[in-house]
């Protein structure tokens, strides 16, 4: 992936097993977010290909990837801040009959039934995320940590298969972070969600992720269990720079 003359990601290749929680780590500037943006469709790679469930999605627009079950969250949480928390969840549920004028007028019973079902699912998601007390607050007014949970709620409403989590621990207090981890584990274990997780919090990576992929200078440095990655000298070099002896 090139930005002008700068190559942010170069010859990076890895695969993610269905049902896994894969951690993507590396020092700042390693190319993690660029890889994420390419998987989500925000950036079109200059070369190479991205496959999802065996299908080449390199040229697919982000909205089409979403409809295929690949959902991303953001490092700085995004929400429809003029809608309430519950509306933020209800609005992302796909294929609602109430979204067409004709159904609104001629199939009102069907629209009401579907809306009740969407509402039930949204409340279920809020209960699961322990956010029912802010359900009717404007999403723009809730705390940063609650917004992170709300982002997770969006993935629940869409029945996502692959969830790309961009630094979920950033700016979240330790108590809320444990809750967030529990939710991620639950969704992975009980609902079979596959997660790719960019994170600088190594405790969170250790607790959740298997395997862990470490990137540096746009390339995959090493892939394996957390212990394997942590004990690899190349990883230490990537984070701390070259050793004094090697440099002289």
């Amino acid at each position: 992936m090139d930005f002008g003359s700068f190559r942010a990601v170069d010859g990076c290749s890895f695969s993610v097993a269905k049902g896994s929680i894969t951690g993507l780590v590396g020092p700042n500037g390693a190319g993690k977010t660029t890889v994420f943006n390419m998987i989500a469709g925000a950036l079109r790679p200059s070369g190479g290909r991205i496959a999802y469930r065996g299908e080449d999605i390199t040229a697919l627009a982000p909205d089409r990837r979403f409809h295929k079950g690949a959902v991303r969250t953001f490092q700085i949480p995004h929400e429809f801040h003029h809608l309430s928390v519950i509306e933020n969840l209800m609005v992302v549920a796909p294929a609602q009959p109430g979204e067409t004028l004709l159904s609104n007028w001629f199939s009102r019973a069907r629209v009401r039934k579907a809306e009740a079902e969407t509402s039930r699912r949204a409340w279920e998601a809020l209960e699961f995320l322990e956010l029912t007390h802010v359900a009717h607050q404007r999403a723009g007014q809730i705390s940063g940590g609650q917004k992170k949970l709300l982002e997770l709620g969006r993935t629940i409403m869409t029945d996502a298969e692959l969830v790309l989590l961009d630094e979920p621990a950033a700016g979240v207090n330790r108590t809320l972070l444990r809750k967030l981890e529990e939710k991620i584990e639950y969704l992975n274990r009980e609902r079979g969600y596959t997660f790719i997780l960019i994170e600088h919090d190594m405790e969170m990576i250790e607790r959740l992720c298997e395997p862990v992929i470490c990137m540096a200078e746009g390339k995959v440095l090493i892939e394996g269990s957390f212990q394997t990655v942590r004990s690899d000298p190349r990883v230490l070099e990537a984070y701390l720079g070259e050793r004094q002896g090697a440099a002289t």
């Binding site: 909205d63 429809f80 003029h82 004028l101």
Partner: protein, 290 residues
């Protein structure tokens, strides 16, 4: 001045003119809410739409009212083409560049109208329309049609935005374009749809301006300022704001002739714009998103 005179000479013409501004202001507000720039070719797009309707009446022999829906559709499609040709490749650049580009597009559109239809004034119908007299209220048939069509278009747009998948997608993109994109909204389609609606409303605005006054190549340019004033007064990005803003500016313009010469009545739009920007820059409805 008695009540009938006030209604006949100030209030009614103000409401009709205000409805015309409102139709244009809704387009400006939609473009701003979705694409985040001021579209200064809007007035000349209205002129283009008005003359397209004239072309349908002269070439196909249609009545002006039959030509209106065709002109609305044609101008909507034309607005999409303008976007693809001139604005699409500027999307990632600072918005001020697109705003300046829209001035260029305005000049092109005006020149096109002048080359094809000339610079002289013309009209959809010949002769004098006598007003109907209802209990002392004197109203012309085309004024009633202007009001009814404006109301119908606004209601249709409201239903579309609130009860339709693409309307919801437009509101989502207006609120948070990046999140909308990653929530399954096709931003390209939403932009095309915005231009179809804004262009269509623009044509309706130009058509009714031509129907109530006369057609000339500068007509759209002349209403650009009051239309922007209406959008800003209501709160840019708010549909209901554009309607209220349009009506206030229209009525204020008509009332202003009580204190200033009629030739200068557009000054009242300047005055309103200045006051809003000074004291409530977000507008009456605190605009930003749909």
């Amino acid at each position: 001045m008695d009540m009938h005179s006030f209604i006949n000479f100030f209030l009614l013409p103000g409401i009709v003119q205000g409805s015309i501004y409102a139709l244009g202001a809704i387009g400006i507000t939609l473009v701003f809410a979705i694409m985040r720039y001021g579209h200064f070719a809007h007035g000349d797009l209205a002129t283009f739409g008005a003359f397209i309707a004239l072309a349908f009446t002269t070439v196909l022999g249609l009545s002006p009212y039959a030509a209106l829906p065709l002109a609305v559709l044609a101008t909507g499609v034309f607005a999409v083409a303008l976007d693809r040709l001139f604005y699409a490749h500027l999307r990632a650049m600072p918005k001020i560049i697109t705003t300046i580009a829209s001035f260029g597009v305005a000049l092109m559109l005006r020149s096109f109208v002048q080359v094809v239809w000339g610079v002289n004034t013309t009209s959809y119908t010949r002769g004098i329309t006598r007003p109907e007299n209802w209990f002392g209220i004197r109203v012309k048939s085309h004024e009633i049609v202007t009001l009814l069509v404006a109301i119908a278009l606004v209601v249709a747009l409201h239903l579309f935005l609130t009860r339709n998948k693409w309307g919801k997608a437009m509101r989502a993109m207006s609120d948070n374009p990046e999140l909308a994109l990653f929530s399954g909204v096709d931003n390209g389609k939403v932009i095309a749809l915005t231009w179809i609606i804004a262009g269509g409303l623009c044509a309706a605005s130009g058509f009714f301006l031509g129907l109530n006054t006369e057609l000339k190549s500068l007509m759209g340019w002349n209403i650009l300022l009051p239309t922007f004033a209406a959008a800003i007064l209501g709160g840019v990005g708010r549909i209901e704001g554009a309607i209220v803003g349009g009506l206030i500016v229209g009525i204020a313009e008509e009332l202003s002739v009580l204190v200033i010469p009629g030739e200068y009545k557009v000054m009242s739009a300047f005055g309103i714009l200045l006051l809003v920007l000074l004291f409530r820059p977000t507008g009456l409805f605190r605009g930003k998103v749909l």
